[in-house]
Point group: C2
Chain length 433, copies 2
């Protein structure tokens, strides 16, 4: 399928060669579309095979097992969550168990609530509730996670895009912005295997985020460490400890740390985690004690019984990797083979997480998503990786290879490749014509 | 233990007789305290025996059982909750399944979030977010549920107490207040077996609540039907359908209906329910879709498998009643026997729910709670039944008989009786002397 017409980049073809190439790709695309496949690469969902890895949860804890220590997990109580589960998850997030809160499923809920609590009551360092401020802004590294941006958009929080580099957000820009503007109250960070680029924040980036002076006394890093243990290679990359770095630089309350077991055990029935400084945890507990008498402790107990130990988590994540890494490799191999020397696409090669970012020819992302859809492949809407769904260059597409079965992934990648090549040649023809 | 000195009310005794009676009660109280019991009547918690009724949940759904219809309950999705569970719970709350949302454990969370959403965004009928109003007030029938009041207090929502009558809140007062004040945006209602009085709203009360003109266009009844199926007698009382009544009177969006399975299955691992009009449900879904991809569907599936049918719920609640009703009867028998002709206490005889309200001599409730504590019996703090924890008459005490084992309940009731009598005689002596 690599373009036979030439081995030069498409961008350097003359109009005639482009026309020939276009009709060839059009024919291939039509043939693919005629197959009538129905494939979905939209969301970072674990596959059925991955979910099977935690099948034991469906029988746990078992009818005689509901006490842990003196706690009857069936009844009310334990606002902060079972200490045994906090102890198990604390090392993943680099804090001590007393500084972990375990909630119900979804860290998204915990992030959302941290924002609403800050709006209505302020953080423990705020002079007033954020809703009493004339303006509240968050820094948003782009490309980023659409659900982060949606929370800001929903509550009228201004989003200031900051480009992601290979080392994390552009720190010169970040430092300049937060030093100057006291209304910048927060920043979304996915420090490890970022959604959707797979970016890993460097030690230096994390150091600078912890140390930088901020005009807002109540500035917070929303440290969404969603993929802390979600490696795609045997490297099992570790990043610097944000909690220690912030404390070390005299900003102990700077980071709200989030995570979950959604992609460790069951996506819809896992455990969400909030972690942070003593003051942040006390603040968060004070807020949630108005809302609940505690999370689902039976589910916490299930997770204790299933995961057992840090080694148990590592072993489980290795089994996930055995399923997911080949799917990523299928997509990357297809991209390399068919887009590699075309000059119309670049993509990330993540070492963990759930996504590949595919950058296509400027102004083509929406068209690629549309063409893919017409060929039976659902992609995340173009623009979703940017605040307000607006990718000013209309270039970035998020690819989520985990959910389809392995046999479908190569097909889906083939369809994406054809959509990319077709959109690019149409664009180049329009420019030439 | 009934006062041997006289069969006349304590309030009619002369000073000498009171002194004799006081030393007798003091001696009995001291003897009780010397036993060193440790009993807790504070919170409406199910007992271990009640939790055992749902032991099957600990093994459910079982390792092969995770699909329902086309939904893989292990994965993300189904924001509104599984339709099969909504269909099962809808009749309890008097609406159709499409107008039910099932969430994670605790209806308190759903009520809290309804308030925060209204503050930050307004309801579907609000002109602006409540946080942009100069003042927001809720009507609070008293005695009421402390956790309702805490939500208001936390967010600076003014609480206007309304006395509960035997038919529900004083409707003359309610109608007058809501007609006049556009800042009254809500009202807490526990229409059936109210916490803590056991009050059942009459048909007429519910009719008037549905029909009354309100100055606020976005006025909401926070209809906490926490004890919808929690009967203590074979009557299984049904109340009027608030949703139908509101719709019938042209106020379809007036009621936010809440409930949960916390006291049906597991207190800490149940299912919370929000129900209401089409517009209210659409509004609530639009709010929570920023917060979550859906609740814990495996736990929803567990509840479908355990409860099975409306008849399954009824049968389970009958088994609860077989455990709880005798405990209520033990307390009521002790009160009747030892406080019945004293003139220093009255109490409710609930037909459902989790509480008895004990009204003691004015100005004595705090002292009764203190004396009970010194005798080893923990009671809910006096005042908890009123906004800001302030019972102006210092009279009302909430008694929660469900959690202690049956053998302990009579002991606890005995201790409460002694504390009531001791506090009353001390008060009467102080007044006389």
């Amino acid at each position: 399928m690599s373009h036979s017409t030439t081995s030069a980049p498409l961008t350097s073809l003359g109009i005639d060669a482009l026309r020939v190439y276009h009709s060839e790709i059009r024919a291939r695309y039509d043939a693919f579309a005629a197959r009538g496949v129905k494939l979905n690469l939209t969301r970072g969902k674990p596959s059925s095979e991955q979910l099977d890895l935690s099948a034991a949860l469906l029988d746990l804890p078992g009818s005689k097992d509901f006490m842990i220590g003196n706690v009857d997990c069936r009844n009310y109580g334990e606002l902060q969550g079972l200490v045994e589960l906090r102890a198990l998850l604390a090392p993943v997030f680099g804090v001590t168990p007393d500084r972990v809160i375990v909630g119900n499923n979804s860290s998204l809920s915990l992030m959302h609530d941290a924002v609403t609590f800050s709006l209505l009551k302020g953080t423990c360092d705020s002079e007033r509730p954020w809703s009493k401020e004339s303006r509240v802004a968050f820094l948003c590294p782009v490309p980023g996670y659409d659900r982060h941006f949606t929370i800001c958009q929903d509550f009228g929080i201004e989003m200031i895009p900051v480009p992601l580099t290979a080392q994390g957000p552009d720190m010169d820009m970040v430092e300049r912005l937060v030093a100057a503007d006291p209304q910048i109250k927060g920043m979304w960070c996915m420090p490890k295997y970022s959604n959707p680029t797979g970016t890993i924040y460097s030690q230096n980036t994390i150091e600078r985020l912890a140390k930088m002076p901020t005009a807002a006394r109540d500035f917070r890093l929303y440290w969404d460490n969603a993929y802390a243990v979600h490696h795609l290679t045997s490297e099992r990359i570790e990043i610097a400890n944000i909690d220690e770095a912030c404390a070390c630089h005299g900003n102990p309350n700077r980071a709200f740390i989030f995570g979950s077991t959604s992609k460790v055990t069951f996506a819809g029935a896992g455990i969400g985690v909030f972690a942070g400084s003593k003051d942040n945890v006390a603040w968060y507990l004070k807020r949630i004690e108005k809302r609940t008498l505690g999370g689902d402790k039976i589910n916490q107990l299930r997770h204790i019984r299933l995961l057992k130990s840090p080694e148990g988590i590592t072993a489980l994540m290795d089994r996930h990797r055995a399923i997911t890494a080949p799917k990523f490799n299928q997509v990357l191999a297809a991209f390399e083979a068919h887009l590699g020397n075309t000059g119309v696409a670049t993509w990330t090669k993540p070492k963990g997480g759930y996504f590949i970012t595919l950058d296509v020819l400027e102004g083509c992302a929406k068209q690629v998503v549309k063409l893919a859809k017409q060929a039976g492949i659902e992609l995340t809407p173009a623009g979703a990786t940017h605040p307000h769904g607006n990718d000013p260059q209309d270039r970035t597409i998020r690819i989520a290879p985990t959910f389809p079965a392995s046999a479908e992934v190569s097909q889906a990648a083939e369809g994406v490749v054809l959509a990319v090549l077709l959109a690019a040649t149409e664009k180049l023809l329009a420019q030439a014509g």
